[in-house]
Symmetry: C2
Subunit: 362 residues, 2 copies
């Protein structure tokens, strides 16, 4: 039996789409019929998730013809070569411009399936069925799709909005602990950026989340998606406010690139990156030190890394230079005035950044 | 000395951009300063065009830093692998989201440079400087970008509008005769679709065009771009009317795919494809036979192929099935009610299509 815990709408300039959060949603054929038209589709998953959930979803999609492609699992496969494989399957099976792509998996699957949908025949529809906490609270919402380049994270991609997001919280049951924790980093991010009350709620309820309490998870996903949907609605193409959602990501992407996307999970790199941003903000006298301490404690309790010991400060600094927020050669960063008050700024002394990187990698 | 022959504007829902047609425009630094900001840029060209025009354009762009990548020449290189090369150069040179890509070349260069711009950091600006007649009258205008897949033409791509189009007619001086003729196929197309008066003008002025009379060429380019700009303004994403611009292309793409993009120029395949569409229209009793004869005569005078002798009718039919206009498995075609009156339709007996293909390949 499926249960809908919450439903939201992402309002865009020219259309809208639903985010539905609840239990066993991907087994609910009637719900799927409501969301997508009855037609042939390509189901994109990976070799870890597909054995767990692809059969149930395929049954719920009957009587549609479902072609499936299972990608290798992991951020290191998030490349143009893997996307080409999805495109090959679309061509080989003669999908038309009315094709529908369904992404069943975590952020990597969703980013690549969405990018393939963006490029196939100059754009076909896709549905997100995120199965990781990180994908449910962040990457499946908002239409950012793409792949990594050896020179930097997510450097190749497209803005392409899904027709809907189906966050089936029952799939979190099989999520490895480490990935649950990585997802919590993005949840904490929403509190830090704009929602001090939610940050306080997370401090109160972190143990319940780590114990996978269903109600706590559904609430955290709902509140995270709500914030993301609001920001995306106001700034779909990241001309301004949406950049705040990248808190910790410029640091984090550099950590991921420095370790070839093999060692750190994205959420882990973001956790350390958010703390770096907070530490740099404190160094600049912008954010009170006790607030930085609160963040460090929460990340530690969540089992997330809080420093980049062993990496090279100079290498990280160089990798930050390729970030998408660079303007006229200068790296802009999301920094904190307080918990719940992030700002995008290029107005900082280089020495403060260098000192922050040195301290974290020491 | 540069001379502007005509200036048009493509009006889109959320912005507009200019098409400027004239002589020696790509040597005009002041004009370039008007169109694009003073910033570093990537100049994408190919090994044929770059030796002829890249130096002049680069000088006109001074004092900007110009990074250049010269692609191999030819439709067979219009692949994701070649686009990846452009993306690599963008990353290696640390271009930011404020990057500008300039496409100097024919349709293949423009399509790939535009697609790389669409994908790099989820979309950066690009300027079209088309140097072939086909690119000046068609592919550089309207924001269709992309590459071929072994399974079909332009199957991978994006809608991504340029910041402007600079059609420098002086570059046509070095265009091989065969390519000039291929470009005329797309010019003739505009007359056939919607502009019977222009078709009559072409019958009167074809010899002047083949002799590269500057005034005749400028007029043909202007009138072609005018029609294209109007149709794109009304239907940017090809939800309806814009599909008419594909007259002859479903047949033509099948011819190109059947010959691995190696034998026929795109315009040549479109020429034969347009005649096939006209012949099929006559077979259905839609278009008067004398009008089909007028088209055949004009194409012959332009030195363009008018049949696909030697190719397999069944293979062409199969390749047409992957066309982007396929809806619910059925191939929709652009057919003619008359010269100047094209329609998009799926309402035809399969036998008429089969007979048309058989007759043309016999």
């Amino acid at each position: 039996m499926s249960t809908i815990a919450a439903q939201l709408t992402v309002e865009l300039a020219d259309r809208r789409y639903p985010i539905i959060i609840g239990n066993h949603l991907s087994a609910d054929g009637l719900l799927l019929d409501d969301m997508i038209p009855q037609r042939d589709l390509l189901l994109v998953s990976n070799t870890t998730v597909a054995p767990l959930y692809a059969e149930t979803l395929t049954a719920a999609l009957a009587p549609r013809r479902v072609v499936r492609v299972d990608l290798p699992d992991g951020e290191s496969y998030k490349t143009l070569v893997t996307v080409q494989r999805i495109l090959d399957v679309l061509v080989t099976n003669r999908f038309g411009r009315d094709a529908l792509v369904v992404a069943l998996g975590g952020g990597v699957v969703g980013d690549m399936a969405g990018f393939a949908a963006a490029c196939y025949q100059r754009g076909v529809a896709y549905l997100q069925v995120p199965t990781s906490l990180l994908a449910q609270v962040d990457s499946s919402v908002g239409g950012k799709t793409g792949v990594n380049h050896p020179g930097g994270k997510n450097l190749i991609g497209a803005f392409h909005q899904p027709v809907g997001v189906l966050a089936d919280t029952s799939t979190l049951a099989t999520l490895p602990d480490r990935e649950l924790r990585a997802g919590l980093a993005e949840v904490i991010k929403y509190g830090l950026i704009i929602d001090a009350g939610f940050f306080g709620w997370l401090e109160q309820n972190l143990d319940a989340l780590l114990a996978r309490d269903a109600a706590a998870l559904a609430y955290a996903i709902h509140r995270s998606c709500q914030t993301k949907a609001q920001i995306v609605a106001r700034d779909e193409r990241e001309q301004g406010e949406r950049a705040l959602l990248n808190l910790g990501h410029t640091f984090g992407h550099a950590i991921e690139a420095a370790t070839s996307y093999q060692t750190w999970l994205h959420g882990e790199a973001v956790a350390t990156g958010m703390l770096m941003a907070a530490q740099m903000s404190a160094r600049l006298g912008w954010c009170p030190a006790p607030q930085v301490e609160r963040l460090a404690r929460l990340l530690e309790r969540a089992g997330l890394p809080t420093n980049a010991t062993g990496l090279g400060a100079a290498e990280l600094r160089a990798l930050m230079q390729i970030d998408k927020k660079v303007a006229a050669g200068h790296v802009r960063l999301i920094l904190l005035k307080d918990i719940g008050a992030a700002v995008l700024t290029g107005d900082y002394p280089e020495a403060a950044l260098a000192a922050t990187l040195s301290a974290s990698t020491a």
